[in-house]
């Protein structure tokens, strides 16, 4: 029924304290989010291990939403070279893009559900580029 909303929405979970990512990763995620117009939040995923390594937004995203995207990211991005996969529900759109040079990882960008697919994928590319640039900063 509406399970999809909670698990894909990426809506902030109120009142649930969670520690943030390490400062260096937080800076990279902030750079990624800043480079993606219209994005509400982003997360750095270890696709192979199914782990969320960090999120940009505060308050944090529901863990179950990111866990589901983590599990889906592997099959969706399998064989995709530099192209983003999208996951859309009534409550949100997630753009997933592998991070070059960081094997088995992906950036997940969360946008409004009506974001045009081409725009979402372009935002994901810009976010990943900014994240990589911030790595060397």
């Amino acid at each position: 029924m509406t399970q999809g909303l909670a698990s894909i929405a990426g809506r902030p979970a109120s009142g649930r304290p969670r520690s943030g990512p390490p400062p260096a990763l937080a800076r990279r995620l902030d750079a990624a989010l800043g480079a993606a117009p219209g994005a509400d939040a982003c997360a750095y995923l270890d696709v192979g291990a199914g782990l969320v390594l960090g999120t940009s937004a505060d308050p944090a995203l529901p863990q179950e939403a990111l866990d589901g995207l983590c599990r889906a990211a592997g099959p969706l991005l399998d064989g995709a070279e530099g192209e983003a996969a999208l996951v859309v529900s009534a409550a949100g759109l997630a753009a997933l893009l592998a991070v070059p040079g960081e094997a088995g990882t992906a950036l997940c960008l969360l946008l409004a559900p009506e974001t045009p697919p081409a725009e979402a994928r372009a935002a994901a590319r810009a976010a990943v580029a900014a994240m990589l640039s911030a790595k060397g900063a």
Binding site: G4, L5, L76, A80, V87, L93
Partner: protein, 252 residues
């Protein structure tokens, strides 16, 4: 329980009331979507304003309008830099005034996409102004999404919308599958559907997923208890995704 789109709209409205937006400017983007017009998109966003508040609208050229709203009613319209509209306080009994207001809002919305940002929480509402829903009704605009089509109708609509670029389709329901089209594309679809099925609760009902592949753009739609897969030429992936997105969200 309402439809997922209605629940999502309520969820967004409640979240906007309860907490500051994640983005620093708190702005959201409003634009036409599927068969929903620019004016309907704007009015739908305004119709979410329950608490007394002022919203700042900015069009693609940077012109701004400030709207006072409360209780899903439009109380006042004030021009900002670049806007040519005359300030007004809508009166529900002034038919000609409401028509002029609708014209102004439609003209402004046509200059979108619009960014809508909260500027202040203030004032009281009573029954002043005009209900946003009444403005929509005056122009015959629909504010709520329609029903999500059945999977078979989605497939038919997708092939009608993209007759030259779709390569294959696959439907999986209750362990049984059916499909047709280019064998390689069908194999890609089948493999993706199987891989995702092996990921418990990764993509629940009411979800569209797209997966780029070197030779095909793949889309899987989980709706109506069916997993519907469609493969397209790589360059047609975004157009196919947009079509399915509009159907999934009820605006096709």
């Amino acid at each position: 329980m309402g439809r997922p789109q209605e629940i999502a709209a309520l969820d967004r409205a409640l979240a906007a009331l309860a907490a500051p937006a994640v983005r620093p400017d708190g702005a959201r983007v409003v634009r036409p979507f599927g068969n929903r017009s620019a004016l309907a998109s704007l009015l739908a966003a305004l119709d979410e304003a329950v608490m007394p508040q002022t919203l700042r609208l900015t069009d693609a050229r940077g012109a701004t309008l400030k709207l006072d709203l409360a209780n899903r009613r439009l109380l006042a319209v004030r021009p900002g830099p670049g806007a040519t509209i005359t300030p007004c306080a809508p009166d529900a009994a002034d038919e000609a005034g409401l028509d002029r207001l609708c014209d102004c809002l439609a003209d402004f919305a046509a200059g979108g996409p619009l960014r809508i940002a909260p500027e202040a929480l203030a004032g009281t509402s009573g029954r002043r102004g005009v209900a946003v829903a009444d403005l929509a009704a005056r122009r015959g605009e629909i504010l709520a999404p329609g029903p999500v089509p059945e999977p078979a109708a989605m497939l038919e609509h997708a092939f009608a919308a993209h007759p030259e670029t779709l390569l294959a389709w696959l439907a999986v329901e209750g362990g049984a599958s059916d499909g047709d089209g280019d064998p390689a594309a069908l194999a890609d679809l089948d493999a993706l559907a199987a891989a995702l099925a092996a990921c418990p609760a990764a993509l629940p009902e009411g979800t569209l997923a797209t997966a780029p592949r070197p030779d095909h753009a793949l889309a899987l739609l989980y709706s109506g208890g069916v997993t519907l897969g469609i493969a397209a030429l790589p360059e047609a992936g975004d157009a196919l995704a947009a079509t399915l997105q509009q159907m999934l969200l009820g605006w096709a």
